[in-house]
């Protein structure tokens, strides 16, 4: 664990002695008592506690995976604090004047309105009228449609049967090291249920859950789309979120029942560390969906943040004619490392999957695509198309592709295309000869490279994602 994190933990702990929130923040370390504490704080039923403990015991037996193409110092889990309550109003910055100017400069470049900047920077606010009214109308509209969208801790209390029925069915507690850890200690996250035949009346965005900002560290999300329903879910935000936790291990489970469609879009922009590679978030995520008969699951992600990213949103195409899609842009700059991709597991007949992955490396960063396409013996007529493109900026970065294809059915068709290119001097010269400066030229070329993925994003997200790339690439030219 780096010195910085230790310091952060220390400060948190020290502060705890002098304020009321002391009892809300656990000292570093992980044992069964910690899990009991978390479960009790959340007023969880007994079965939930048992579920967590089962995960914890499994985790103890597991080993941290080392196969990913990323390098980081060993994580000492006993030095991490596994529960800290949201900062109290008194602890937060009073106004934007007290917020890191560099962060504000970035918000400015991304064109984020002032009151949103305040929310993102964690400024203490009694009420923001705009947001509150938005949230209220939003909730009413969803209730009318019968859609459940609430914190998962609330769902565990209010809809125990639904949660029990689906939690851990897509990503079991023992699935992998980080998923087990998450299952044991998850802090909060979202729960979504779309009833049969309902088309969710709006895009669901974590952004609207302004009342629980501080849930990022061990987030747990469960989305269930009942038969014939549709939902589009947006996770994250293009603005860099202020976060003091270095270790992130989220789990997302999607269940698309017969004929349902789930579109899950992510923009991940956690702190990537500074230009020298110091600091930054370690992001170990498990995301997976199960698609039943005629169902469709589509993952779209734009990853520009975090020092280390380990993430493979996957689809289990269980039902016949089910469809899985994965559209990804992963950008790394400076010393960032990303090992990301997808798994498409074809079980049902005539299942189809599409993978479009775009990796951009700048500075001294490393970006890897790791993907698995598996066609099981019963997946008659399955089809996959994979396109995997890497773009290099400069000559000190790296791009790597690790595609795995396992086809056990002779009727399956699997296509894989891969390219690696550089932002060429000729392209740069064309842009500059037409009056563009070097940074604008690079960001335009990179945006063009990502077009196929951006067009899958909801409209306003796509515009923001373009701007985000521009900001993330700053300093990569010259």
């Amino acid at each position: 664990m780096t010195q910085e994190v230790e310091n952060l933990i220390k400060t948190d702990y020290a502060a705890g002695f002098y304020t009321d929130i002391e009892s809300d923040t656990l000292p570093p370390g992980l044992d069964e008592n910690v899990i009991r504490f978390i479960s009790a704080r959340k007023e969880e039923p007994e079965w939930m506690l048992e579920w967590r403990l089962k995960a914890y015991r499994a985790w103890l037996e597991m080993e941290e995976p080392t196969w990913a193409h990323v390098h980081y110092p060993e994580i000492d889990f006993q030095s991490v604090s596994f529960y800290s309550a949201p900062k109290s109003m008194a602890d937060r910055p009073k106004s934007l004047d007290e917020v890191d100017p560099e962060l504000l400069a970035t918000y400015e470049k991304l064109g984020i309105p002032l009151h949103e900047q305040e929310a993102l920077a964690g400024v203490a606010m009694d009420v923001v009228f705009d947001s509150v009214s938005v949230v209220t109308t939003f909730r009413e509209k969803l209730e009318e449609a019968g859609v459940i969208f609430c914190p998962i801790s609330e769902a565990i209390r209010r809809f125990p049967d639904l949660v029990k029925q689906y939690l851990g069915t897509v990503v079991p507690q023992k699935d992998n090291y980080y998923a087990a850890l998450n299952s044991a200690v998850f802090s909060d996250g979202s729960f979504v249920y779309i009833p049969k035949g309902v088309r969710c009346p709006m895009e669901l965005s974590t952004y609207f859950r302004i009342n629980e900002l501080n849930t990022g560290q061990f987030e747990r999300t469960l989305i269930v789309a009942d038969e014939g329903s549709h939902v589009s879910y947006l996770e994250g935000c293009t603005a860099p979120m202020r976060d003091e936790n270095q270790l992130h291990a989220a789990v997302v489970e999607l269940v698309a029942l017969d004929g349902a469609q789930i579109k899950y879009s992510t923009v991940q922009n956690w702190y990537p560390g500074d230009a020298e590679g110091k600091g930054g978030i370690y992001n170990f995520v498990t995301k997976r969906g199960v698609a039943h008969t005629n169902a469709k699951i589509s993952w779209t992600q734009v990853e520009t943040g975090s020092a280390v990213t380990w993430k493979y949103p996957s689809c289990i195409l269980k039902g016949d004619n089910s469809v899985g899609e994965f559209y990804s842009v992963a950008l790394t700059n400076n010393f960032q490392q990303a090992d990301t991709g997808t798994k498409m597991i074809h079980l049902g007949k005539n299942t189809r999957s599409t993978i479009v992955a775009k990796g951009i490396s700048a500075g001294q960063s490393n970006s890897s695509y790791r993907g698995l396409v598996r066609i099981n013996p019963g997946a008659e007529g399955a089809r996959n198309f994979t396109q995997c493109d890497s773009l290099l900026i400069g000559d000190r970065c790296g791009a790597h592709t690790f595609p795995y294809i396992e086809s056990k059915n002779p009727s399956a068709v699997v296509e894989h295309e891969a390219t690696t290119s550089k932002v060429s001097d000729d392209q740069m010269f064309l842009c500059q000869q037409r009056g563009l400066d070097a940074e604008k030229a690079v960001s335009m070329i990179v945006n063009g490279f990502c077009r196929e993925v951006f067009k899958e994003l909801p409209m306003e997200f796509a515009v923001e994602a373009g701007k985000l790339l521009e900001v993330s690439l700053e300093g990569s030219v010259g």
Binding site: Q433, L436, N447, F449
Partner: protein, 249 residues
């Protein structure tokens, strides 16, 4: 407009231009001809500031200022336009988007407000018609999958939109059939307004039947070895370059 005195330039450690002089007044069209390897394309690249093309001596004044002091993009914004011999593709970046950013950069430099999306779209559509390109090309990636002729017409369209003071056409005629050549030449001629100047770099006299120059210069061994009017081009067509190179020898 442009005053080049004793220009020396090298590319990859090799001296290409060796004391080039040329004087271009507003509204003039100068053709630069010469054998392969004489430095014709180098001249356009040095003037527009292409990385790797280094001026090592002499001076270039453009509209009264020292051109060699300016960055590539500043030269462009000041009004130098290079129409490429081999226009490069930028996949995924729409022509429309690219052109708008370029036009805005230039307008901003001149202290003018950016054009609105609607204004620009109208302007771009009108301009594409002038070079006989279907408006659908505006939506496609920059030069992406364009034929040779379409790329060249796209170059001329960019030139029209950017309204440069000095246009440098680098062997724009290469690879064009006669119809495309006519379109390109009409485009260029429509931009001759008595103020804008042109440097037309070409291998063949043919282009000069369409774009009639005020002056013709022969470049050999990195300098101008002969200058004349458009009749010189015809003479070159008949006699080749040998007699000039030998004479200089």
């Amino acid at each position: 407009m442009l005053s080049i005195k004793g220009l020396h330039a090298k590319v990859e450690e090799k001296d290409i231009l060796q004391g080039l002089d040329i004087e271009i007044n507003p509204g003039e069209v100068h053709a630069i001809m010469g054998p392969n390897g004489s430095g014709k394309s180098t001249l356009g690249n040095v003037l527009s500031g292409r990385p790797g093309y280094e001026a090592t001596g002499g001076s270039v004044l453009f509209k009264g200022q020292d051109l060699l002091e300016l960055d590539t993009e500043e030269r462009a914004r000041e009004g130098i336009f290079l129409a490429f011999q081999y226009p490069v593709e930028i996949p995924g970046v729409s022509n429309m988007e690219f052109l708008k950013v370029a036009v805005d950069a230039k307008r901003k430099h001149a202290g003018l407000p950016e054009l609105s999306a609607v204004e620009f779209m109208k302007l771009a559509r009108e301009t594409s018609k002038r070079v006989d390109l279907d408006a659908s090309f505006l939506k496609r990636g920059v030069n992406e999958g364009f034929s040779g002729g379409e790329k060249k017409r796209n170059e001329i369209m960019q030139m029209m939109l950017l309204e440069p003071d000095l246009c440098i056409l680098d062997e724009t005629d290469s690879g064009l059939d006669i119809d495309a050549l006519q379109v390109v030449a009409d485009g260029v001629n429509s931009m001759r307004d008595g103020k804008r100047s042109f440097i037309v770099v070409t291998h063949y006299q043919r282009l000069l039947d369409y774009i009639v120059p005020d002056y013709v210069h022969v470049l050999a061994g990195g300098r101008i070895v002969k200058s004349g009017t458009k009749e010189l081009a015809l003479e070159l067509e008949a006699k080749g370059y040998g007699w000039l190179e030998n004479g200089e020898g």
